[in-house]
Symmetry: C2
DNA sequence: TAAAACATTAGAGTTGAGTCTAAGGTCAAG
DNA sequence: CTTGACCTTAGACTCAACTCTAATGTTTTA
């Protein structure tokens, strides 16, 4: 059985994070020592690694909680439940990429329009663009990021 | 002179947000009524619109504070100061897009590998991939998002 | 046996950008 | 002269995922 710092080293999750995940109901030490120390077995290590893998892919802790409950009893869950989670995440990712791509385009246009030199900013085209009002919708959740300059 | 709800309507910023921006030192009403009501003039409106435009592009409030200080006295600031801010933001955006693109690729591979049907998840290839450990680095700040499945 | 290195807990703090609340003051309309 | 729509403030709350602290107990090592 591993102590918390041992499983931490093995899985790359910090001891803080492991205790935090326990509070969130994701993972428990399967035993405690007489003194109350958490003791983790092989199955716990695999579970922690599952969590880390899912987290690294980008799943939220809420998603991971659902994935773990499926993992616990695969026979009574379907592939569709699993793909629903993945597809939900993928949709989020698409949306964020769209937003960021709009920001990127805007910033590149702004940067291309300005000399960027030691000249004073009196006629800086970036400042002018920002002052031109006409601010397009963007950021704050789920709109088609159409932001021109 | 406009009351706060009037400039709010005009600029698309909420009254809460305007007061919050005031606390952050971004914008002040240029006058107060006898009763202490904020009163905004034309210059305030233009400043609020500048802020909204910059925010919509994706600049942080800290960036905006700097941009506003440049705007206040363009003659004693350079184009380079302005492009430094834009380039900094653009770098952030690039980094986030890279991360998200890695997530996207991983999720697409996972989704392609799984039937997604009503079959039970006993042999679900997504669950298998998550259980395969081998978790690649990703997310948490600034690493080359190489995440395979 | 004493110090260093671990472990425990509850709970507070961090980040960024708001969002909301409570408790009150002001103003225009009917 | 009251109702409702506005305005004020300080300060708490939200989200996500940690991260850290303090105060204390345990184990290991020199």
């Amino acid at each position: 059985m591993l102590k918390i710092s041992e499983i931490a080293k093995k899985t790359g999750l910090s001891t803080h994070t492991l205790r935090f995940y326990e509070k969130q109901g994701l993972i428990n030490a399967s035993q405690r020592s007489e003194a109350g120390y958490r003791l983790y077995g092989e199955a716990d290590v695999r579970k922690a690694e599952f969590i880390r893998t899912a987290r690294n892919i980008g799943f939220s802790l809420d998603d991971i909680a659902v994935l773990l409950s499926i993992r616990l009893d695969k026979a009574s869950h379907t592939c569709q439940e699993v793909t629903d989670i993945a597809r939900g995440k993928l949709d989020e990712v698409y949306e964020k990429i769209t937003e960021l791509t709009a920001m990127k385009a805007t910033l590149e246009i702004l940067l291309a329009s300005c000399c960027g030199g030691p000249e004073d900013a009196t006629h800086c085209s970036i400042m002018e663009a920002l002052d031109a009002s006409e601010a397009k919708q963007q950021s704050s959740s789920g709109n088609t990021a159409t932001n021109e300059v």
